[in-house]
Symmetry: C2
């Protein structure tokens, strides 16, 4: 078995640069034994993995289509290809939420590795290297297709679907875990990078491998029971709250102050709001964003940290001599100088890790917060308060651009999170290094006293600013607002003081403008990944492409997923045991306004008329009173 | 007469750096004859100028106080010092506007030179050099005091005031022009820097020297006529419009399309809005900001441009050899290489000048626009529509912090403009250089083809993004919104396409997030100097310190300068020929609500009651109808 160096492999270009940079040695540096990683051959190589699993997935999907939907297949043309299984009901939100979240996590993890790690496609034959970009593009379509059956098996809600799903997820999971046990260490970036990057994929597959068998067992035990029960209950509850009486603003028992603080913090991220249920898409977007963010953060960690650690270990007295050659004298004592340099590099590493941890915490908080805001926006829009959400009134009607935005929302959220995370880490790292080297180290070790020097030079100005601020406040309080709290007094003195303090106020204005710069930069940095907030001022908030996209997405969600429509669809067909289908509900309402004479009962049509009226005039919701005696039948949800 | 080099004087630290950097010559480089500037001695040195003019100004102010206000002096304590002339009525806005604008321009020009140019205080004796900071702080208070009489002479509106003002402004102006004729060239920064920096000061003094004599002649000819006439008319017109009838929305004759375009552009910067007159303070703020911005831009120009020009002139074949030593090979032919380098440096200069011109245009546009927005905000607040301006309802009552903000507004605006201009110039310069070297030069000369190389590498991705965008749009238009314009159709295909395009949409999301970054950065950069806009999102717009300051300022302006109050003050005392005084008007209204039995007439009190009601309930304005028969006397402005 040959050995390969972690950072000494023949062609890692980024490592070579560092090698040449910090070691002036013509011969290969001696490698400590802990940096030697064994070169291993996979029992199941990547190529073989895809060669086996792609046909298996294809067979699974064809089998399911032919077995389950044969009736529908025979009806439509082209061998029923348009009638193939749908991957998921993004707008309908039926069934289990664990499976779509796990599959989307799996997909986005694979995708990030494909985009970030250039070795992902190394298993392709040599001849493909000439057209690497084209193969990458093919891979962009291949991964969704590969994981498609895992998602489609769920949307059937039949025993055979769960069975196929169980087999497929076990196959994927087993193969991946086998690969990682075979070769836990790889020479790219950092020895455990590949293992750490695969962890989310393994986690998602474990979830699938557990949920599919559980669903199968549940289905086998209670074959007639549907998952729709909870959703059905939610929609009917919403309807009864809306139609029967105005919401009671019961004053809650607030409890002790301690629990109140806890509840406030908790409600910032997850409010106890039972009125409107989050739809599936924002949950998927947040899941995908978090897993993509993990991949980006991991890559930034393994690119920076091991390199700097290597540099730190290679600092010696020769390096001090080189520094002295450039005129940088760290310390008279060479050993102390080496210690200082090593310590400073260690401080930089700590700053980097701190920046990374802080960025990740901020990003996760913001993503959770965006869910809360989304739920609030949905609730407001369902109640017809669109000016509260958009600051102007909009009518939620889908157009091609709205639909395009809706289709891209999950991916956009993931991309925004990744880019925002990168910017945050870079900026926070620079800020941490500045704070450490300009404030902490000068106080602790007495080195780099630039700030102290600056303060020594400029203390009269700071004192002046402080005194002038106090003077202005005191004069305002006791001289210019004396007696008349709503009118200024002593106006001549006020004008005189204003005039005399103009130059000093210019200095204060400089400070305030720097504060403005910092506040706006920090706010935008923190909220970059939140598409539900515009980064711009309210009159031009639509110029922000992220926010415009989110508004389109939100409008379509409200237009298509209004709980009223769902509830009435359920009420119309409670006996058939099928899924409530929005399209069927819509087709009940003739486009030209005529009502059918035969067919459904009069009651159903009247109910639908009411729902149709309410969804197109959301402001009427608040006008509804408990007893409706204006010809509209009173609805009693069962 | 000794000669001194423009960039070879003994102690200019910034120049020494450049000297050492680009010339490796141990001996002093030969200076071309056009860079030698004669060293000259001022006939009227700076020290002498201040030694003469400061006592003259002091005498003038004391003379005016004793001559004109002797009655008031005798009444008050401390020799009547609190009764000294007021510099200007910032809130009352009476009299000529040219004089305050010119004096504020003069003051801010002097102030900027004091803060930016370290040679301003060189005339002080050697002993003061040890405490330079303290002397600068003293100078911050000295300059307003020096120009104080120029402003105070105007607020008297008496012949003697205009006479003293004329003499003082002629003295200042003559002395400054004499100095500049004596020594037009100075060795600091650039030979004409001092002259160019003094130009705004000379301009302001010329305005004063022309306006004061004109006012004097006017006063001598028509001694009884007051400047208040136009203001009085404005307030009464406002009152009559408000009380008599609702504003008529007469449809204007719009004219030809060409004039309409012109009118639209014009109305962006100066709308034909006759309802509310701008108060003095924002005009002063814009004047001060523009002159401060001029000083900052001038300094940035003379620090950068002559230095780069010197570098450009010193490029020769030796420099090419030095570059080749670093591994940079510009061209095989050395003469061509020199020409290329010289050309590139010239391009950088052009970029710098273009960035500077663009920044100045943007800043001036934004300042003018802020006046328009201020006028609109005043009008809205006077009509009681505070939620239109602040997005929430606020009551305009002064507090110490509001008053502090009001006192600092002019200075803050100037500081924001200067800082914003610096940031704009730097960012635009970098952007111009990037565009030139990455796009223009590669196209014209075929060098630096980094972008082309990048496009060659990545064209499949761009093509993919384009095709996917078109595909999404076409599918949305003709498949998913087919037939039902307000509902989606073919939902299974929609979900399938959404799922399959997820990875490609991540790439699109990356582009959109970069667009978001650019849009928000550019918007905030352009609007940094505008305090009337928050740089933050609407729910946290108060966190922007500049905007909060402006809101405070605006609330005090509305609370103290409401045209209604002014108009009623005028109506109450039309016969006395004195200035309308807001404080006297307020004192008419007893704080406890009781009405005086004697004293003023019943009519005056009723009128004041109406005004008091209206100003504290601005929403009532729109309720007023032409004939008031509810006990309130009908007002007929004369």
């Amino acid at each position: 078995m040959s050995v390969e160096l972690l950072h000494g492999s023949p062609e890692p270009p980024s490592d070579d640069i560092y090698d040449n940079w910090y070691i002036d040695d013509p011969q290969e540096p001696e490698v400590p034994p802990d940096e030697i990683i064994p070169d291993c051959d996979l029992t199941l190589p990547d190529g073989m993995y895809h060669l086996i699993l792609a046909p298996v997935s294809l067979c699974a999907i064809l089998l399911l289509s032919f077995l389950v939907q044969r009736k529908r297949l025979c009806k439509s043309c082209c061998w029923g290809l348009p009638g193939l299984l749908s991957p998921l009901n993004l707008l309908e939100d039926s069934g289990n939420r664990w499976i779509p979240c796990a599959v989307f996590g799996l997909l986005f993890s694979s995708l990030c590795r494909l985009l970030l790690d250039s070795t992902t496609l190394d298993f392709l034959p040599e001849i493909c290297n000439a057209h690497q970009a084209l193969w990458k593009i093919l891979a962009l379509f291949y991964y969704p297709a590969l994981y498609y059956p895992l998602l489609a098996c769920n949307s059937l809600e039949r025993v055979v679907g769960y069975l196929v799903g169980t087999i497929l997820s076990w196959l994927h999971c087993g193969a991946l875990i086998w690969q990682k046990i075979d070769c836990p260490q790889t020479p790219k970036f950092y020895r455990y990078y590949s293992l750490l990057a695969t962890l989310p994929q393994i986690g998602c597959l474990l979830v699938l491998s557990a949920v599919y068998p559980a669903l199968l067992l549940y289905k086998l035990r209670k074959p007639r029971r549907s998952d729709q029960k909870t959703h059905r209950n939610y929609y009917l509850k919403y309807l009864s709250r809306l139609l029967n009486r105005k919401p009671s603003n019961g004053s809650k028992n607030l409890g002790t102050p301690g629990s109140q603080v806890f509840r406030t913090i908790f409600s910032y991220l997850y409010p106890p709001n039972t009125d409107v249920c989050l739809s599936l898409k924002p949950v998927l977007a947040v899941t995908a964003s978090m897993l993509s963010g993990y991949q980006v953060a991991l890559l930034l960690l393994v690119v920076f940290l091991p390199t700097v650690q290597k540099i730190r270990k290679s600092i010696n007295e020769e390096f001090i001599l080189v520094l002295a050659g450039f005129g940088l004298n760290v310390d008279e004592n060479k050993t102390a100088a080496v210690e200082f340099i090593v310590y400073y590099i260690w401080v930089v590493e700590v700053c980097y890790i701190a920046a990374m941890v802080l960025s990740c915490i901020v990003t996760v908080t913001m993503l959770l917060r965006s869910l809360v805001k989304h739920r609030w926006a949905l609730q407001s829009l369902c109640a017809g308060q669109s000016s509260l959400v958009f600051l102007d009134s909009r009518s939620p009607s889908p157009s091609p651009s709205v639909l395009s935005s809706w289709m891209g929302h999950i991916s956009y959220q993931a991309a925004f999170t990744c880019i925002g995370l990168i910017i945050q880490i870079v900026v926070l790292f620079v800020a941490h290094v500045c704070v450490t080297f300009l404030i902490v180290i000068p106080i602790v070790y007495g080195k780099f006293q630039i700030i102290l020097h600056f303060l020594k030079m400029s203390w009269p100005y700071w004192l002046l600013l402080f005194l002038v601020t106090v003077l202005q406040y005191v004069c305002s309080r006791f001289l210019f607002l004396e007696g008349h709290p709503s009118q200024t007094t002593n106006r001549k003195s006020l004008f005189l003081l204003t005039y005399l303090l103009l130059p000093v106020n210019v200095l204060r204005g400089g400070l305030v403008s720097i504060a403005r710069l910092l506040v706006s930069a920090i706010f935008n940095l923190i909220h970059f990944c939140r598409m539900d907030l515009s980064l711009l001022q309210h009159s031009v908030q639509g110029w922000d492409p992220g926010y415009r996209n989110y508004c389109n997405f939100l409008m379509l969600e409200v237009s298509e997923c209004h709980p009223l429509v769902r509830a009435f669809c359920l009420l119309l067909k409670p006996q058939q045991g099928k899924h409530p289908d929005l399209e069927e509900g819509i087709h009940l309402m003739p486009p030209d306004g005529r009502s059918h004479k035969g067919g459904r009962s009069q009651l159903a049509r009247a109910r639908w008329n009411l729902a149709y009226t309410l969804i197109h005039n959301p402001s009427l919701h608040s006008q509804r009173i408990p007893t409706c005696s204006n010809g509209t039948p009173r609805l009693q949800p069962t």
